[in-house]
Every structure is written in structure tokens, then in C-alpha cells.
Amino acid sequence: MILNSVEVMFGGQAGDGSLTTGDLIAGVFKRMGLEVYTYKDFPSRIRGGHTNYVIRASENHDYGMADAVDALVAFDLEAVETHIAEMRPGGFVVFDNTDEAIPDNVRRDDVTWYEIPLAKIAKEMGLELIRNTISLGVLGALVGMDPEIVRHDVRGVYQRKGEKVVDLNMRAIEAGENYVREHFADRPSGYGLTKGIDGDRLIMMGNDAIAYGALVAGCRFMAGYPITPATDILEWMSKQLPAFGGVVVQAEDELAAITMTLGAAFAGVRAMTATSGPGQALMTEAIGLAGVLEIPVVVVECARAGPSTGMPTKTEQSNLNHLIYSGHGEIPRVILAPGTVGESFELTTTAFNLAEKYQLPVFLLTEQALCQSKATLPPFDVDAVQIDRGKLIDSGEVVFGEYKRFAFTDDNVSPRVIPGIPGGMHLAPGSEHNDGGVITENAANRARMMEKRMGKLVSMRDDLPRAVLHGVADADIGIVGYGANTGPIAEAVDRLARAGVLTRFLQLRTLWPFPEDEIKTFFGGAQHVFVVENNYTGQLERLIRAVVGPVDALQSVRKYNGQPFRPIEIIEPIRRIAAVGTPVEVI
């Protein structure tokens, strides 16, 4: 029996309501006092196509999926066929057998089967969609959800649709619970969650944390073009920004989205756009303009599987090279990568400060497996958020002729006026220019301007978010990773330690300028270093190799099938190399 830990997978066809029910389950687990992580795996279509929603709940804060699925709620045979191999021995399947039966070659003997005509029961109750709520009752009875919390949360979701709808849903929960009681009294699931205290916590999606972080950081302008998986941010800002005096523009394309962001920032407003790979590609030229005009912009990249359209709803870490190298010519840029929902908020606020303090584009790089995942976390302390606008001159006046927008300074950052300030009139040209903004191709000026702009990467060094070291500081075995892999790697570190394998994990949070010193220090004393990343070519590994030179210690752990890592996929290769310790239990 597994205590107070469960991974539920809700699987069916897109558009059948499983995402709403998944959110409900996550909320119920949270209110039962458990730590929750969710992962949405859905197709790039609105109706039809296999979709599933994974909800992991436990007393530990595990930031990612478990090794295996405990409870699969399958609305169709496809869901079973697709995921039966991921089931933990001892887990269970709830299957809607209204129209389909489980063929013998799909059935596994080491899981418990609960075959229930969910759709038929729903139809008898008068509404086919109510199947979701019935299955919630079934699942609740099997894993031990608190029935009161289930009812409270379902009511909360359907209240605005009227008392009739709420009643129907209440009866549906009961129908599910009763079915389990009446038909499976002799078939225990082996699971039983214990209710704890919810405490003062939030449950939030990565994208919401980014948007919220931007708002608190003072972002008052956002332009964006809808693209999965970044659209949530545009939607969130559309709802919230007007009340804070700001504005959101749904642009005609990403070329407009980024150039609008530049325009608003040029005018003195903290501005942002959010996109994913294909949109990022279109923004490339204007990012160069932000670099040369020294305009502070924050660009959120919610990475998905590429290239081209790729797999829009699947996760990947294949855009790192693009963010570092894209664009003609050379500009300074910063790339930050949060590893949790909490860091998504925190690093977004940092991104705005870095952008304004050093007057350059800052990318916040996240991935589908983090930005569209929800997690429980402590409330944000908005008082702790610092706003540093750098050398912004947004009041008073400057002396025309003396003031130079692109003045050479010790830290390579020039005082920045905004339109409306008396005396500050100048040309901001994408062409090379002198300190006053006058276009020139003078060779000496060109060299000096390049050094000024690129030199900001050095000036900012102390302000960049440091990497986080997890695990045992002097362990022989090291792991390097970032972003959504932070959770699975950190969990692997903990579980390896319990099995007697000590490791340390360097979670990079600044990816550019590349943290060479932190990498070099981390490699000191390491016998083996595993670089974990979601791409084929080892984009992070190549950056590391360029710093540490030819080393035998480096091992690659890569995954590029659109799915995030499960911890066991990181544990196993490390355990094999370590050749010590006891076998690690699959969780």
C-alpha cells in the first residue's frame, strides 16, 4: 500500500471535459493538504484526439511526474492502449466499458480493473457530459478523496451555471461513489489518501505565475499573437492589465507583437511579449533592434517541440540555441530559465529589472511541461519584489546638446530618456550610430559601440540569478539541467541518496550569458557529470563542453519524444554508472 501519494491520469478524447475534471482533481488534492503537480498532455486540436491530464499528489513536493501512473481513468480504449505500459504494478484502471471492451492483449494482470459503464449511467441521468463528474466520484471513492471537499469544489465550478446543474453534478458524484460501493466492495484499490491541512498555499500554473510576476514587476504593456503554449499569458494579462492602467494588444503577427513591445518600452513602459518557437523565429530581427537601440524588453519563450509546427502541445528544450544565437549581427542578451512555478514568478520580476538596468532584451525561457503545469506553492510575497528601473529619466529634463542617449559610461549603460522629456530629443536608429544617436559608419566609433553594448554582459554579472545547488555539495556525481527538468532531477537526487548514491545537481537559472564560472566550479572534483536535457543534439551539453574542454566525465541524458522526464529515467543511468547502492524503488 502506497501512503499518501498517488499519480492519477485522466485520459480520453480532447473536448470531452477531462481537462476541467483534471483541474478539479488537482484542487481537491490541494485542499486535502497534499502537494500537487499537474501535467497536461493534449493534442493540437480542439475536439478529438487522445488527451490526458496527469495529477500527482503526495506529502512531498515532487515537481514533476512520478515514474509510473497509479490510477488511470480511461474514457476510451485508446487511453488504455496508450498508457497501460506506464501503469505501476498494483495500480488500477477505471474504464468506461459502455461501448468498448478491454481486449485480452491489452489487459495486464498486475493492475486492478474497474470497468464501469460511465457513459451509460450519464445518459440515464440525462446528460452525457456528466460522465466526468461520475468518474470523479468513482476515483474519489477508490483513492480516498474527501467527499466533502469533492462536493465543495464541484459546486464551485458549476455554481454560475445554476442550482439545477449543481444538483445534477452532486447526484453524479454520488452515483460514482455508490457504484464503487455496490459493485467493488470486494476489490480494494490499495490506495487511501489521508487528509491533512491545506494551509496558506496557492495552486498555480507556470504561465499564470509568469503573467502575475510581470504585473507585480510593473509591466503595463503586452502585445502578443496567440500561440500554444504561450497564449495563457496573453489571456491572463488581457484580464488583469486594464485594471492597473495598462493595455494588451492582440497583434496581427509576432513581427508586430515584438515591435509593439519595443515601441512601448521606447516610450518608457515596462513591456513584454510571450511566444513559442515559431513566433520567436519571426521576432528575431526586432530582437536585434532592441539590442542595438538598447531598449529593455522582456520576451517570454514557452518552448514546445519544433522545428516548424513540430508538436505544438508537447514539451522540448530545443530552442536554447535559437535564443542564444538567433539574429544577424551581435547583441547582448540575457536568458533566464525558471525551474518551478515559484521561480517563474520570481525570475519574471528579475527579467524586468535586468532589462531596464542594462537596457537590453531579456528572454524568460520556459517549456510546455512547466508553463502549462500547475503546482502547489506558498503565497508570493509581493512586498519583496524590488523594482529597479536603472538609469531611466522619466521626469525632469535634460540639456539638449549635452545629453547623449548612447553615452559611453563606466558600466556601459547610458542614461535613458523617454519621449516627452524636455531636451532629450534624439534619433534612435537601428543603423550604427554615435553616442548622440547620429548614424555613422566611422570605424573607431563602431568598435567602441560594439564594446559598449557587449560590455554590459560583463557589468551585469553580479546581478544575474545564480544557479541552485541541490544534493550533496561534494558528491562525486554531478547533474546539470534547467527548466522543467529541475523537478525530476531533484527528485532523482533525493531517491538516489536514499539508495546510497550521493549526487549533486546544478540547476542553471541564467543560461546566457553562460555561467562559465559556476560550471567550472561544479566540475571540480566530479567523477561523472550527467547533462539532462530535452533535445536531440545536446544544446546545453555543447555549451558546457565549450567551457570545460574535453572531459571523460560527461554523460548525456537526453529525451526528445515530446514528453517530460520521469525521475526513473534519470535515476537509472546514474545508478548504472555509480555501480553502488541498492536498487531504487520505482515511485
Binding site: D200, R201, L202, I203, M204, Y212, L215, V216, A217, G218, R220, F221, A223, Q240, P242, F244, G245, V247, V249, A251, E252, D253, L255, A256, A257, T259, M260, L262, G263, A264, F266, A267, G268, V269, R270, A271, E285, A286, G288, L289, L293, P379, F380, V382, D383, I387, D394, I418, P419, G420, P422, G424, M425, H426, L427, A428, P429, G430, V438, I439
Partner: protein, 289 residues
């Protein structure tokens, strides 16, 4: 009180890179004159241009000037206006910048109807790349990339703007400065997106659409009997019929701007205090409990 402004107040020290005789000189002069007559202070003018010969104009108007990437003057200008609605925002560029690489932004800026002015300096050729066909070059126009003549139909930018829902459409000719000044002033004072297309001859590459050619081929609508710029169908007829090129204010309509429709506060966003008390965020955070 500030002294009366003159066009000289809008001059920059930067010498022009245009060829002698370029139509763009006329546009620049008219713009300076219009700004001075409107009493705009240089500090309150944001002037955003595209790329090409005409795009260089932002370097020659004393203001907060932005010379960005090819085709993207309009989204930049739109955002500058939304960020600080106290500014007078003017975008400018050529026919290639606005009607080719920037055509997508053009129709959407028109639809959005942000309160700004857009000046298209139409020379019917690509000048800075040394004389290729542009979106407004006549069919058959012989150029370096169309040695057998331009195979494409010229784009009617103003008719396109009208179709997209433009609220202010005017056309000038850079050899008729008085009319241009009046039009630019009307465009700036118009509440909404105002487009002013100026026929601005390229003396170096376009040997067809010369000053002399224009003089023979333009018609001043303002002197045409009974023409009123408030009739959409009449405007469409004037813009699309065969014959002389109509000049003057072709269409004008008062309709809600993007700022109106989004309820954008009068207080410029750029002047907001972005540090807000914690209590302002309480409701947002509570929704995630």
C-alpha cells in the same frame, strides 16, 4: 509661454542623404511647417520611420525619432501612442516599407484606428536598393529586377485602406507644399488613424513618374464640384476610377479609436507609478488559494 514655433525648430544638424531634387525634401518641409503651425513641441513628437530612402526622414526631424526595421514602423508607432497618449505620434515610410514588407501591419493599423498619423512617401520604386519595382510601380515598369517590365498590378494603397476601414485618407504631391501642410495638419488633428500618401518622385531611378508626369496626371479633389470627403462610396470611386490621381482629403470619418474601445485611461501609461500597494494584488492571489 514658449515663443512661436517655426519649421527651424524641427530641424536637426544631420545633413540629408537624399539625392538633390528628391520628392522627400518636400515632405520633410511640409512636415516641419505643419508641426510648427500646430504648435507641437519637439519633445512631444514621436516620429517613427521605416527603412528605405524615405525612412531616413526620422533623422531629419527634431523630435523623439525612431528608425527601426524595415516594414515595422506602424506597430512601433501604435505602441508608442498607447504607451503615452500625450505624444503626437507620426509614422513615415515608403511604398515598399508600407505596402510590401509592411502591408500586413498597414491593414491592421488601419483597423485598429489608433490616434496617429501615417505618411507614405510613394515614389513607385525602390530607391535605396537602386531602382527595382515597388508595389506601386506601374505594370510594365522596367527595372533592374524586372528588365522585361514589372509583371504585377500596382497596389492601390488608399483603396486598400478604405476597404480596411480607414477613418482618414488623404493624398498629396510633394511639389504642392501648401496642400501637403494643410493635409498633414488635418491628419494630425484627426482623432484616429490618419493616412497621408504623398506622391514623392524619385529623380534618380523613376524616369516615368516624374514631377512633370505628376503635374499632368493629378486632380485636386477639393476643387471638384460637390466632392465631400464623408461619402465612402464616392471616396472609393475617386480612388479607383481610371484617370487622374486624386489629391486632397479623400475620406474622413469620426469613429471610435482603439483607445476608446479599450477604455484606455487618459493618464499616459508611461507616467503611471508602477509600484502598487500589496493590497492591489490580494484579489488576484486569492483566486489561486
Amino acid at each position: 509661454m514658449t515663443a512661436t514655433l517655426t519649421p527651424k525648430d524641427f530641424a536637426t544638424a544631420t545633413p540629408s542623404w537624399w539625392c538633390p531634387g528628391c520628392g522627400d525634401f518636400g515632405v520633410l518641409s511640409a512636415l516641419k511647417q505643419a508641426m510648427a503651425e500646430l504648435g507641437k513641441q519637439p519633445k512631444d513628437v514621436a516620429f517613427i520611420s521605416g527603412i528605405g530612402c524615405s525612412g531616413k526622414i526620422s533623422g531629419y526631424l527634431h523630435s523623439y525619432a525612431f528608425h527601426g526595421v524595415h516594414g515595422r514602423a506602424l506597430p512601433v508607432a501604435t505602441a508608442v501612442k498607447l504607451a503615452n497618449r500625450d505624444l503626437t505620434v507620426i509614422a513615415a515610410g515608403g511604398d515598399g516599407d508600407g505596402y510590401a514588407i509592411g502591408a500586413g501591419h498597414f491593414v491592421h493599423a488601419v483597423r485598429r484606428n489608433t490616434d496617429m498619423t501615417y505618411i507614405v512617401m510613394d515614389n513607385q520604386t525602390y530607391g535605396l536598393t537602386k531602382g527595382q519595382s515597388s508595389p506601386t510601380s506601374a505594370t510594365g515598369y522596367v527595372a533592374s529586377v524586372s528588365p522585361d517590365g514589372n509583371p504585377d498590378t500596382p497596389l492601390n494603397g488608399l483603396a486598400l485602406a478604405l476597404a480596411a476601414g480607414a477613418s482618414f485618407i488623404a493624398r498629396g504631391f510633394s511639389a504642392q507644399p501648401k496642400q501637403m501642410v494643410a493635409m498633414i495638419k488635418a491628419a494630425v488633428e484627426h482623432r484616429g488613424f490618419a493616412i497621408v500618401e504623398v506622391m514623392s518622385p524619385c529623380v534618380t531611378y523613376n524616369k516615368i513618374n516624374t514631377y512633370a508626369w505628376f503635374k499632368d496626371n493629378v486632380e485636386d479633389l477639393t476643387v471638384r464640384d460637390g466632392y465631400a470627403p464623408n461619402d465612402r462610396l464616392a471616396a472609393f470611386e475617386a480612388l479607383t476610377r481610371d484617370g487622374d490621381i486624386p489629391l486632397g482629403i479623400i475620406y474622413k470619418e469620426d469613429r471610435p479609436t482603439f483607445e476608446d474601445r479599450t477604455g484606455l485611461p487618459e493618464m499616459p501609461i508611461a507616467r503611471l507609478d508602477i509600484r502598487r500597494p500589496t493590497a492591489d494584488y490580494a484579489a488576484i492571489q486569492a483566486a489561486y488559494r
